[in-house]
């Protein structure tokens, strides 16, 4: 049985288990006995025991099936392959898989025993698999249904199982993050085995070209990431230079000055900006803004490259405005009205109140919002890739083309790559830097925001 029909059968069993459990509980209640829990709790309990164990088995099975099967296959391979390197064995195994499923290209008679074995194995395991899962489901249903009695504490048992399920889900989220971190750390460590960490962090020349053949000349590659850090910093600074004042002032306008009518359409309109895909911003930057900047620059006699940090930074700034404004708007609104009243009551004007009472009171929250926006800017890729170019120039001139950490990660990994070449591994080292920087920024921002919340709650 294939997966989809198996899952449909399981769902039917689950629904049946629910109804059976609930009806049995109702029948008990109708005999005049008081139930410990509601009939629906009994139904849910039966359903959970019907569905969960097979689900677990399904997951474990699919995790380990491949390994077990391959292990069994190795024994069927010809002697000389078995004696060979692990890479050869891997290759032979995948050939066997292809032949068995009929997609293999080369007929390899020496692999035939293994192919036969695999086909036999697959038909047997598939039956075993289906049988085991259905048996487990039915067993769970039957046992739990029998346990349904007026004294069974179904509610607390269901609650407990729900808690475990929720715990498992959050566990998966945390473990995945840790897994990603571990893999990035490992690959970065491999990279630092080939390129010194000092050169990476402080080197000023970035040209990650690696010789494709050992005898190719003059292309050992250099991995000094400083131009990327500077490029990222430059573009983020330009973006924040736009986004912070504009975002903050529009937040102040919306929360302190605008009438509720204006507010009711200006706020959603601003938030639409946040919904535009970054790739759209990207070609807006590359095709509209960059040429305009170039034109203006040339009319002033300035030398502007057609892809400039300024174009990317400006557009990124526009993209981040709603981010800053809606977060700041929230913190400004959270400043208690009583503080404003106190200030007005002393004869302060609206702008005095905003400047001297509202903003200072909201400042920690605003700082938090800005920090989150910065980490957003640092992580942004698309706009920069399209509008600022790929040239790793070490420059602070916003009219030059620069590149950023994220863009380089993309270019390093696009196309066919060897997984252990420094060029590929460099992407992981850059990723690690990016991860650490945004982690620190987010952490600081959250701390600040939290501190602010405590002050007024």
């Amino acid at each position: 049985m294939n997966y989809s029909s198996l899952i449909i059968v399981l769902l039917i069993l689950l629904g049946g288990g629910y109804l059976l459990g609930r009806n049995k509980a109702r029948a008990i209640a109708n005999q005049g006995m008081t139930l410990h829990s509601l009939p629906t709790h009994y139904g849910a309990l039966v359903a959970l025991w019907t569905g969960l164990p097979p689900l677990l088995l399904l997951i474990i099975w699919s995790l380990f099936e491949q390994q077990v099967v391959d292990h069994l296959l190795v024994a069927q391979l010809p002697q000389q392959i078995q004696a060979g390197s692990s890479a050869d064995i891997q290759l032979a195994i995948s050939k066997v898989h292809n032949l068995a499923s009929g997609t293999g290209l080369s007929a390899s008679p020496e692999l035939q025993p293994a192919v036969k074995h695999l086909q036999a194995l697959e038909s047997r395991t598939s039956m075993l698999h289906t049988g085991l899962i259905l048996a487990l489901a039915l067993l769970g249903l039957a046992v739990t249904w029998r346990r349904v009695q007026n004294t069974l504490r179904a509610r607390s048992e269901v609650e407990r199982m729900v808690r475990y399920m929720l715990f498992a889900s959050s566990g998966i989220a945390v473990l995945t993050t840790l897994g990603i971190l571990a893999s990035v750390l490992y690959e970065a460590w491999m990279f630092f085995g080939k390129v010194s960490i000092i050169e990476f962090l402080f080197g000023t020349s970035w040209s990650p070209q690696i010789a494709l053949r050992a005898d190719q000349s003059g292309s050992s590659g250099s991995f000094g990431a400083v131009p990327l850090f500077v490029g990222t910093l430059l573009i983020s600074m330009i973006a924040m230079f736009i986004a912070v004042p504009v975002g903050l002032m529009s937040a102040i306008y919306l929360s302190e000055y605008a009438t509720s009518r204006i507010r009711s359409f200006a706020k959603p309109a601003l938030e639409i900006l946040a919904g535009i895909p970054t790739v759209v911003y990207g070609f807006f930057a590359a095709l509209t803004v960059a040429p305009v900047i170039r034109g203006i620059g040339e009319s002033w006699g300035l030398d502007v490259s057609s892809e400039s940090a300024l174009a990317a930074g400006l557009v990124m700034g526009i993209m981040i405005i709603p981010f800053v404004s809606s977060l700041s708007d929230d913190v400004i609104n959270a400043v208690p009205q009583s503080l404003r009243d106190g200030s007005y009551g002393l004869g302060a004007t609206r702008s005095e109140t905003v400047r001297q009472v509202v903003i200072p009171a909201a400042l920690p929250g605003i700082v938090g919002a800005v920090m989150l926006a910065v980490s957003r800017a640092i992580g942004e890729t698309m706009i920069v890739a399209m509008a600022a170019g790929l040239a790793a120039n070490l420059t602070f001139n916003p009219l030059d083309s620069v590149t950023t950490v994220t863009v380089q990660i993309v270019t390093l990994l696009v196309g066919d790559q060897e997984f252990d070449s420094p060029k590929t591994l460099a992407a992981f080292a850059l990723g690690l830097v990016l991860f650490l920087v945004t982690l620190v920024l987010n952490f600081v921002a959250l701390k600040i925001v939290q501190k602010y919340r405590e002050q007024y709650d």
Partner: protein, 267 residues
């Protein structure tokens, strides 16, 4: 749709030496009328207590007297209110000096998230009352002394005002109001968030402040009205029912509604 048709305020709503005079004041929140045709004088150097059941419009009326209602979009005020014979709703009237002359203390202490010193210095700074640091220091010290807070905070003037106790915070807010040297102080239930000891201190303070200021105080505590005020005004569903000397209101109320309220039959 006032409750009592053709109602005339009972007692003596007018004063011989009025500081603030309100005539035929009506207040609307959108379409809803909250105050109906209220005429009342607040005499110079007197403490007048505004009492009445919750929602009867005490705060609304009080907030008319320094145009705090301007900060509420939907609020509209009709009638005349004069401060020293000057119409405060005149379009030529500037609310900034008005609110400096008619200060306000709120129900919940609302110190700014600044130091104690800066809380007091806030008003004088925005109105340019001090010409030097020394003068500002003097204003801060004098205001804190008047509010009876100086001895408690003189060693920590630069600590945050939000770190004080509730009662100290409220006295800080009173000191902050005094610092701009107002003529009238409006207080909206200034003690409702405080314990009896802090309340007693503030009541003592109000009694002392009466020498120099005119005070209107909203309160839910009839004992408090009796202790601090010379006259009491009773509001009911947006109408001013009765105004009389305080001891008379609490011993021999003129109007049946007033009597019902002070004997605790509603409110």
């Amino acid at each position: 749709m006032s409750i009592i048709e053709n109602h005339q305020t009972h007692g003596a709503p007018f004063s011989d030496s009025p500081k603030l005079t309100a005539r035929n004041v009506g207040v609307y929140y959108g379409d809803k009328q909250a105050i109906f045709d209220v005429s009342l004088d607040i005499g110079a150097n007197e403490v007048i207590a505004l009492i009445g059941p919750s929602g009867c419009g005490k705060s609304t009326f009080l907030r008319c007297l320094n145009r705090m209602n301007d900060t509420i979009d939907i609020c509209r005020v009709t009638g005349d209110i004069e401060l020293d014979k000057e119409n405060i709703y005149d379009p030529k009237m500037d609310v900034v000096p008005l609110r400096a002359r008619v200060g306000m203390v709120f129900q919940k202490p609302n110190p700014f998230p600044k130091s104690i010193y800066d809380n007091i210095a806030y008003g004088p700074r925005i109105h340019g009352l001090a010409h030097s640091r020394v003068e500002l220091d003097e204003i801060v010290e004098k205001s804190l002394q008047r509010a009876g807070l100086w001895s408690e905070v003189k060693d920590r003037l630069h600590a945050p005002g939000t770190g004080l106790s509730g009662g100290q915070q409220q006295r800080l807010c009173i000191a902050r109001t005094i610092a701009v040297d107002p003529e009238v102080i409006l207080m909206d239930e200034p003690c409702s968030a405080l314990d009896p000891i802090a309340t007693a201190k503030i009541e003592e303070l109000i009694d002392e402040l009466r020498e120099n200021y005119t005070i209107a105080i909203v309160t839910h505590s009839m004992q408090q009205a009796a202790r601090v005020s010379q006259r009491t005004a009773y509001f009911h569903l947006g109408q001013l029912i009765e105004v009389n000397p305080t001891d008379q209101v609490f011993t021999t109320p003129e109007h049946a509604l007033t009597e019902a309220y002070i004997t605790g039959r509603f409110g």
